[in-house]
C-alpha cells in the first residue's frame, strides 16, 4: 500500500532535503566569495571542535528542543504557532521575576519555581492568539507574529525600567542570586574530575528538555488529549462529529505549546554562566523551532536529532562569523532552506524518491 518503506520517509527524505539546503548554502558562500568547503570545516570545528564548542552546541540544542516541541505539538493540531519567539521572551520574564523576587535556598527549588513561572508566562502569552483562533477564526500565524513584536516591546520596557537594578548600564535584569543558578554539565563533570564541557553554559536543563520530549511523546500518542489533538488536526469535521470540542482542544494545545516554548527560559536565563534576562534572550530560537519540528517530522526523537543539528549549526555559524567576514545570519538562511525543503517543497523531494522505490522495490511494495 505505502509507496515506500517507513525508514525512507523518516530518514531518507529529510536527509535529501538537508543535502539540497546544503547545496544552495554552498552557492550562497560562493556568491560572497567564501570557499564553502573551508566554511563547512570552520563550522564543524566551531560546533564540536573543542569541549567548549561542544558544550555550546548542546546548550543551543536544548533551546531548540523546547521550541521544536512547542511548534510540533501545535502542528499535530494543524496549528502553526510561529510565536515561539515571544513566548520564550515571556518565559524569561516569568523566570526572572520569580527568581529575583524570592531568594530560593537551593537551585532545585529555583528550577521548579522558575520553570513553572516560565511555562506559565509562555502559555499566558499565547492565550489571546489561541482564543482568537479558536473562537473568532483569526489567523494564528499573523496574530502570533504580532505578539512576538509586542513581547519584545514589553521585555525592553521591563528591562529598561522595573527589572533593571539602579545604576546598571546594560538593558537587562540584575544577576540572579548565586543559589538559584542551575548547575552546568561541566560542574557535574568536574565532580568526576573531568572538564568535558569547559566553560560552556550547557546545564541540567538539557535533561529537562529530554524529559519534555518523553512527556510530549506520551501526550501525543498515549493520552486521550493527544488522541483528540491529532484527530482535530487531521479532520475538524470528524472531530466535531466525535464530540471533540475544537475550541477547547485548540486552546489547550496552544497553551501547552506556549508553555513548552516558555520553558526554554530555564536554559537561557537561569542556566547561563551569569544568569540574568537580557533583551535578545530568545535569539531566534522560537523560529528555529519551526525548522526543527519540520525536519524532525513532529516526533520527539526527530526533534532531538534536528535540534542537535541546529545547535551545531548555530554554534558553528557563530564561530564562522567570528573567524571570517560572514555574518551570523547565514544560520537564518540555512534555517530558511531547511524549512522550505522539509516543509513546503516536501513533495518535490518525496515524489522522485517514491518513484525510485516503486521502480526498484516493486516486489516488496505491492505485496503489502
Amino acid at each position: 500500500m505505502d509507496k515506500m518503506p517507513k525508514w525512507a520517509d523518516v530518514v531518507l527524505v529529510p536527509v535529501v532535503s538537508l543535502l539540497l539546503a546544503a547545496i544552495i548554502s554552498a552557492i550562497v558562500f560562493l556568491a560572497i566569495g567564501q570557499n564553502p568547503w573551508e566554511a563547512l570545516k570552520l563550522m564543524a570545528y566551531g560546533a564540536v571542535g573543542t569541549s567548549d564548542f561542544l558544550g555550546y552546541t548542546l546548550f543551543y540544542a536544548t533551546n531548540f528542543i523546547f521550541t521544536g516541541l512547542a511548534v510540533a505539538v501545535a502542528f499535530h493540531a494543524s496549528l502553526f504557532n510561529i510565536g515561539g519567539e515571544g513566548q520564550v521572551l515571556l518565559g524569561g520574564l516569568g523566570a526572572a521575576i520569580v527568581v529575583l523576587l524570592v531568594p530560593w535556598p537551593h537551585w532545585t527549588l529555583a528550577l521548579i519555581a522558575g520553570g513553572t513561572a516560565a511555562a506559565l508566562f509562555g502559555a499566558l502569552w499565547v492565550v489571546i492568539p489561541a482564543y482568537l483562533q479558536a473562537r473568532r477564526g483569526s489567523h494564528i500565524v499573523i496574530t502570533t507574529i504580532m505578539f512576538n513584536f509586542m513581547a519584545s516591546g514589553l521585555l525592553v520596557y521591563m528591562l529598561a525600567g522595573p527589572l533593571k537594578p539602579e545604576g546598571q548600564q546594560q538593558v537587562a535584569s540584575g544577576l540572579f542570586p548565586e543559589a538559584s543558578k542551575l548547575p552546568s554539565l561541566n560542574d557535574i563533570a568536574e565532580m568526576f574530575g573531568s572538564d568535558m564541557f569547559g566553560r560552556s553554559p550547557v546545564n541540567i536543563s538539557i535533561f529537562i528538555a529530554i524529559l519534555a520530549c518523553v512527556a510530549v511523546w506520551a501526550l501525543i500518542w498515549h493520552t486521550r488529549l493527544g488522541y483528540q489533538i491529532r484527530a482535530l488536526g487531521k479532520s475538524e469535521s470528524a472531530a466535531k462529529y466525535a464530540g471533540i470540542s475544537a475550541v477547547n482542544i485548540t486552546m489547550i494545545t496552544l497553551l501547552i505549546s506556549g508553555a513548552l516554548a516558555g520553558m526554554m527560559a530555564i536554559n537561557n536565563t537561569m542556566g547561563i554562566n551569569s544568569p540574568q534576562l537580557v533583551d535578545n534572550a530568545a535569539g531566534g530560537a522560537g523560529f528555529i523551532g519551526i525548522a526543527v519540528a519540520l525536519m524532525g517530522r513532529n516526533h520527539p526523537v526527530g526533534i532531538v536529532i534536528a535540534a542537535l543539528l541546529f545547535g551545531a549549526l548555530y554554534q558553528g555559524g557563530a564561530e564562522l562569523a567570528a573567524a571570517t567576514d560572514v555574518q551570523v545570519q547565514i544560520v537564518i538562511v540555512i534555517q530558511a532552506l531547511v524549512i522550505m525543503f522539509t516543509g513546503a517543497l516536501d513533495e518535490m523531494v518525496r515524489s522522485p524518491i517514491e518513484k525510485l522505490f516503486l521502480r526498484f522495490g516493486r516486489g516488496t511494495a505491492v505485496e503489502e
Partner: protein
Amino acid sequence: MDFFTIVQLGDASVRMAIPLLLACLAGLFSERAGIFDIGLEGKMLAAAFLSAAVSLASGNVWVGLLAGIGISITLSIIHGLASITFRGNQLISGVAINFFAAGLTVVIAQGWFAQGGRTPSLPKDARFNGLDFPGALTRVRDKMQASPGMQFYSEFVSGHSILVYLGLLTVPLSWWILYRTRFGLRLRAVGEAPEAVDTAGISVVRLRYSAVIIAGILCGIAGAYLSTAVQAGFTKDMTANRGFIALAALIFAKWRPWYALGACLLFGLFFAIDNRFQNIQLQVIWIMVLLVGSAAVMTVYALRREKIDVLVLGGLSVVLAAIALVTWFGTASGEGIGMIAALWETVKVPSQLIQSLPYLFVVIVLAGFVGKAIPPRAGGQPYVKER
C-alpha cells in the same frame, strides 16, 4: 495641533502607506487567486536590498527598481513552485521565504559592501527623489507661512517620489483589472472555485502563477520604494513587518482594492503618529477611562457568551484594570499627592507601547470585531483534480 501639522501628518501617512498599499495589493492578487502569501515581507526585503545595491552599482535607480522587481518575482516563483506545482503548505513556504530574505540580505550585503550588513548610502542620483509640482513651495519655512490651500498643495500633493503616485495609481488599476477584464474574472474565479476554472478549459496553474508574479512585481516596487525613496540605502530588516501588517490590512479591506487604500492609509497614520510623537503624555484619568472602559466592554461581551469567553476576556479585563490601578496608585504615591489629584497628573506613555500600537491594531482587526469578512473560498488549498 495647527493645520500645517495635520497636513504634515497626512503627508507622512501617505508616505508610510505606500509600501503597505503595494504589499497589500500584492497579497490581494495572490489571495484572490487562492494562494496565501505570508512571504510579502521577505519579498519586499529582498527587493529593498537588491534595488539599493544595483542602484548604487549602476548609478541608475530605475535599473535598481528592475532588479528589485526581479528578485521579488524570483521569490514569488519559488512560492509558486511550493504552493502550486508541488502543492505544499503555503504558510510554511511563506515563512521560509521571509527567513531566507532576512538572512540572505544581511549575509550578501556584508559580503559585497562589508558595512555590517547594510548598503552604503545612496547618492542623490541613485535614489527616487521628490517631484516638485509647478508652483509648489519647497522650503519648510515658506510652507509654514503659506495659506492653507498652498500648504496642502505644497506639502500633501506635491513633493512625493514618482513611486508614491504610481503606488496610488495601482489602486484603480487593480480594480479595473479585477472587475473589468477577462483576466480579472478568471483570477477571482480561481480563488473561489478552481474546479470551475479547470472544467472551463482554463489552466489553474497558469492563472495562479500569473497572480503570484503580479504579487512579486508589486512587492518589488514596495521594497525598492523603501530603500531608494524613503531611505537612502538598505538596512537590516528595514521592512519592519510591513508585510504582515499589509496582510492584516488586506483582511480589513475584505480583499478589495479601494478598501485596501483606506486600510493602508489608516495604518500609515499609525506609523506617522508613531514617528512624529515619540513622547505622548496622557492624564491618568484618560488612561483609567481607556483601560477600564475596554475592560468593561469585554466583560459585558463575554458575560453574554460561553465559559471560555468569560475566562479569557474576563482575565484580560482584570489585567487591564490592574494596569490602570497600578498607574493610578503609582502616580499618586510617586508624586506624593492624593488619589483624586493624581487623576489629573500626566504620565508618559511608554514608547514601546506606542510602537506596539500598529501590531495591537492588527490583532484587533483580525479578531474580526470590525466587520466580518469572507476570504476567498479556495484560499490556501492546493488544487487537486478530483477523481
